[in-house]
C-alpha cells in the first residue's frame, strides 16, 4: 500500500469514525478538548503504522482500541499526579470501572448517548453561535479546521482560535459531558437544531462571497441532522428539521443556473429537483407528524416546503395551505422575516394587493431596516400591480443591500426587465 492510499483511507476513516471516537473518549476523561487530543493521537499512530502494516480490517475499531489505551493511560496518569482529583475519581467510581477491559467495554455500550452528549456540549449556550458552529463541524462533522475555514471564507487561524477558545470556555464553565434532562433538554435541543440549520443555510444561500450556494455545507448539515434523527427518534422537531433540509436540498441544483445565477423557486425547472431527496424529506415529515402534538417551527417550515415539493408545476402550488401554515409559524416564531414570507404567500393566494398590505406594514420595522429581501419582495408585488417606477426603485434598493454578488446581479436584471 502506498503512503497516499493509506492517507486516503485514514482520511475517510476519520470522517466516518471521529465523532464516535471523540464522544466515547470525552465520557471517560470528561473534557472534549482532551478527548479530541487523544483521538488525534490515535490518528497520528494510524498515519505512522498503516502505510507499512496496511489498513487494518476494521479501521474504526483499531482507532478506538488505540485511543482507549491512551485514554486509560491518561486517566491513570492524572490520578497519580493528583490523587485528590475529584472529577476523575468520581468518574471511575460512578462507573465502577477498574479493570481496563471494563473501561474499554463501557465505551462501546454508550455510543448513542455519548454522541448526543457531544452534540449538546458542542452546542452549549455558554458558547457564541459562531463557536457552536465551528465546534460542531469539527467534533461531529469530522471536518478539518482548513475545511471549516474554507466553508466560512475566514482564515484557518480564525477557526483554530475559535475552537481553542470554545474548548477553554466549556472547561472553565465546568460544562458536564452529558445529555441534559427535563425542561433543560428542550431548550438545549433547540440550540442543537439551530446550529445544524445555520450550517445548512450558510450552504443553501451563502450570506457572503461569490457563490450563491455551497452544497458541501448543506451536505454536512444534512448528515448531522440524519445522525441526530437516529439518536433522538422520539422528538418530532428533529424529524421536522431533517424533512426541511432534505426538501430544500432537493432544489439545490435547480436553484442555480449554469452561469451560477440564482433561480427563484417558482422559476425553477422542477424536472431538476432531486426526487430521491424529496421522497426522504416527505418521509421525515411523516415521521414528525406521526409523533403527534402541535407542529413545531421546523415541522411547519417543512410542511410549507412540502407544499412546493408536491406541486408538479408552480401553478399547482397550494398557496392557501401555505398561508395557513405561515399563520401557524407567525404564532410560534413571531418575526418580521416570517411575516414577510407570509406576505409573499398571501400575495400568491389572494392577489398582490393583499401581500403588499402586509409588506407595507413591515417597512417601519427596524429589524428589517437593512434586509434586502424586504424591498425585493415589495418590488415584485408592486410590479405585479403595474406600479413599475416604484417597483424599479425597490429592486435597486434591494440590490444595494445584498451582500451576495450573484443575488445582486439577479435583482438588477429583474429591475432592467421592468
Amino acid at each position: 500500500m502506498t503512503r497516499q492510499q493509506a492517507a486516503d483511507a485514514i482520511d475517510a476513516v476519520w470522517r466516518i469514525e471521529s465523532a464516535r471516537l471523540i464522544a466515547g473518549l470525552a465520557r471517560i476523561v470528561g473534557d472534549i478538548g482532551v478527548a479530541e487530543d487523544l483521538a488525534q493521537d490515535a490518528l497520528v499512530a494510524a498515519l505512522e503504522q498503516w502505510p507499512t502494516s496496511g489498513v487494518p480490517d476494521n479501521p474504526g475499531a483499531w482507532l478506538m482500541a488505540t485511543a482507549k489505551h491512551r485514554a486509560i493511560d491518561h486517566v491513570r496518569r492524572r490520578k497519580m499526579q493528583d490523587r485528590k482529583h475529584e472529577h476523575l475519581g468520581r468518574v471511575l467510581e460512578d462507573r465502577q470501572i477498574s479493570p481496563e477491559s471494563e473501561l474499554a467495554a463501557a465505551i462501546d455500550d454508550h455510543v448513542g448517548d455519548d454522541l448526543l452528549s457531544l452534540m449538546f456540549t458542542a452546542c452549549h449556550p455558554v458558547l457564541t453561535t459562531e463557536a457552536r458552529v465551528a465546534l460542531t463541524l469539527r467534533l461531529l462533522g469530522g471536518l478539518t479546521t482548513d475545511e471549516i475555514a474554507r466553508a466560512f471564507l475566514v482564515s484557518k487561524a480564525t477557526i483554530q482560535q475559535r475552537i481553542v477558545r470554545a474548548k477553554r470556555t466549556l472547561a472553565a464553565a465546568h460544562v458536564p459531558f452529558e445529555v441534559p434532562r427535563g425542561a433543560e433538554l428542550t431548550a438545549r435541543l433547540e440550540s442543537v437544531l439551530e446550529v445544524i440549520y445555520l450550517i445548512f443555510n450558510e450552504g443553501y444561500s451563502a450570506t457572503a462571497g461569490e457563490d450563491w450556494v455551497r452544497p458541501a455545507l448543506c451536505e454536512d448539515a444534512l448528515r448531522l441532522g440524519r445522525i441526530l434523527a437516529e439518536l433522538a427518534r422520539d422528538v418530532a422537531e428533529v424529524h421536522g428539521l431533517v424533512a426541511l433540509m432534505e426538501i430544500q436540498a432537493s432544489r439545490l441544483r435547480a436553484r442555480v443556473s449554469p452561469a451560477g445565477e440564482p433561480i427563484l423557486l417558482l422559476d425553477q425547472d422542477r424536472g431538476r429537483w432531486d426526487y430521491l431527496l424529496i421522497g426522504r424529506g416527505l418521509a421525515a415529515l411523516a415521521r414528525a407528524e406521526a409523533r403527534g402534538g402541535a407542529y413545531g417551527p421546523y415541522t411547519l417550515q417543512a410542511a410549507i416546503a412540502a407544499c412546493h415539493a408536491r406541486a408538479h408545476t408552480a401553478e399547482e402550488t397550494d398557496w392557501t395551505r401555505i398561508v395557513a401554515l405561515y399563520d401557524g409559524l407567525v404564532q410560534l416564531m413571531p418575526s418580521p422575516i416570517v411575516e414577510l414570507n407570509r406576505a409573499v404567500a398571501l400575495g400568491m393566494a389572494f392577489g398582490p394587493a393583499a401581500g403588499l398590505e402586509v409588506v407595507d406594514s413591515l417597512t417601519k420595522d427596524p429589524a428589517l431596516a437593512g434586509y434586502h429581501l424586504l424591498p425585493s419582495v415589495r418590488g415584485d408585488l408592486l410590479a405585479k400591480l403595474g406600479r413599475f417606477d416604484e417597483a424599479r426603485a425597490e429592486l435597486a434598493r434591494a440590490a444595494a443591500l445584498t451582500q451576495n454578488s450573484r443575488e445582486r446581479d439577479l435583482l438588477l436584471k429583474k429591475m432592467e426587465a421592468l
Binding site: 448543506c218 444534512l222 437516529e230
Partner: protein, 121 residues
C-alpha cells in the same frame, strides 16, 4: 456527494447465509446511524428479468436469464458522503463483511451520481 456502489458477481443459486445477511444489515444500520445511508437493494435472478437493447435504430427485448453473462449486477447501495475516499471505505467494509461467509468473487463498481448538486449544476 452521492455514490452508487454496484455489486457485480457471477450469477449463482447460492443464497446468502443468515450470518452474512446479519453482517450486511449491521453495516447498513451503521451507515444510517452515521447519516450517510441513502438506499440499498438486492436484485432478483436474471431469469425473472429482461434486457432491452437499441441497436441500429431498432429496439429488441430479450427475457432473462442471461446465461452468457460472466457477471451480473447483484445489488447496489447509495451513500451520501463527503468524498470518494469515504465511499471507498464503505465499499471496503461491505466486501470485508463477505470474507469467510461468501464463496464467490465479488466486484464493486463505485460511481459518483451525476444528478448531484456538488458536481455542479
Amino acid at each position: 456527494m452521492r455514490f452508487m456502489t454496484i455489486v457485480k458477481t457471477r450469477e449463482t443459486d447460492a443464497q446468502p447465509s443468515p450470518a452474512l445477511i446479519d453482517k450486511i444489515n449491521k453495516l447498513s444500520e451503521d451507515a444510517v446511524k452515521k447519516g450517510v445511508f441513502v438506499g440499498m437493494g438486492g436484485l432478483g435472478p436474471t431469469s425473472q428479468g429482461a434486457r432491452a437493447r437499441l441497436a441500429n435504430g431498432k429496439i429488441t427485448v430479450m427475457d432473462g436469464p442471461f446465461a452468457e453473462a460472466k457477471e451480473v449486477i447483484g445489488g447496489y447501495a447509495i451513500f451520501d458522503v463527503a468524498s470518494k475516499k469515504e465511499a471507498m471505505e464503505w465499499t471496503r467494509a461491505f466486501l470485508e463483511a463477505h470474507i469467510g461467509l461468501w464463496d464467490h468473487d465479488l466486484e464493486v463498481e463505485v460511481r459518483q451520481m451525476m444528478d448531484d448538486p456538488s458536481t455542479g449544476c
